[in-house]
Amino acid sequence: MKLFRFSSPATFYPLAGKLIPLFWVLTALALAIGFYWGFFETPDRLGGTNPQKEYYRIIFIHVPAAWMSMWLYLMLAVWSAIGLVFNTRLSFMMAQATAPTGALFTFVALYTGSFWGHPSWGTWWDWDPRLTSELILFFLYVGYIALHSAIDDPRRGDKASALLAIVGLVMLPLIFWSINCPDPNQCAALHQRSGLSQMEGNILFAMLTMTFGLWMYSFAATLTRLRSLILEREGDSAWARDLLERER
């Protein structure tokens, strides 16, 4: 089947190599436009029911990073599940390549949230549901990476950590609902409600452009890591040896 042609490491390796430069270019473009728009085309202060000063510009990095942290976790769990069902080597390697970048963005979301929280709430940290659930997501990423590296046989490590990734999937709806609360009456204790519809167009544009930039960055970084993992794990096969002979 044609779909499965690129599911072999030997065919995917050169394909990824061709795509990576494209993703870097898109990353640079989107982050430059997003940064410019976020700082020069948006108001300095926000009025309305939730007044904020210049520090609100942290959201242009915070919200995209938080979205990516959840999206990459979903990818991690999906590749893990595909790997467990079809027993395909490349899917497990995809999952393994996604985890460090996902952990990075979760960490970015956490401390940029702190940098925003201090001027606006007056505290760096609060055990409020969304901060706590994002912190647990960070621990899940770290747990996945640690478990995988603790098992010497990579194939066994793949399967054990894949299970952990799938079980941890339960956190995603919890994070989502702790931010976008389904019942406003129950969320009175939360610090703030968020909603795309109430947002000004320029702010939304900057946020979405930055999100696109970080997304392209994730593609570039995970594919680069994936190529290294493929070489590390399949380096002894004939195609990898051919490739190394040619590149030398």
Partner: protein, 59 residues
């Protein structure tokens, strides 16, 4: 320019958040490069050490 940098007095928060993110992303890129170089070096050493007749044999 200094107005842009001060961000209404919140420059430390804003640039702290952006700066640390930039450092972390650059750090990941450097780490990826180093990882790739290490693996290449190890694999080409393995190939050099392999006896000549074995080279190019199907695995």
């Amino acid at each position: 320019m200094s107005e842009f940098l001060s961000q209404g007095g919140y420059g430390a928060y804003v640039w702290g958040a952006y700066g640390l993110t930039l450092i972390l992303l650059l750090g990941e890129v450097l780490q990826l490069r180093r990882q790739r170089r290490t693996i290449f070096a190890r694999l080409s050493r393995m190939i050099r050490l392999r006896p000549r007749r074995e080279r190019g044999d199907p695995a």
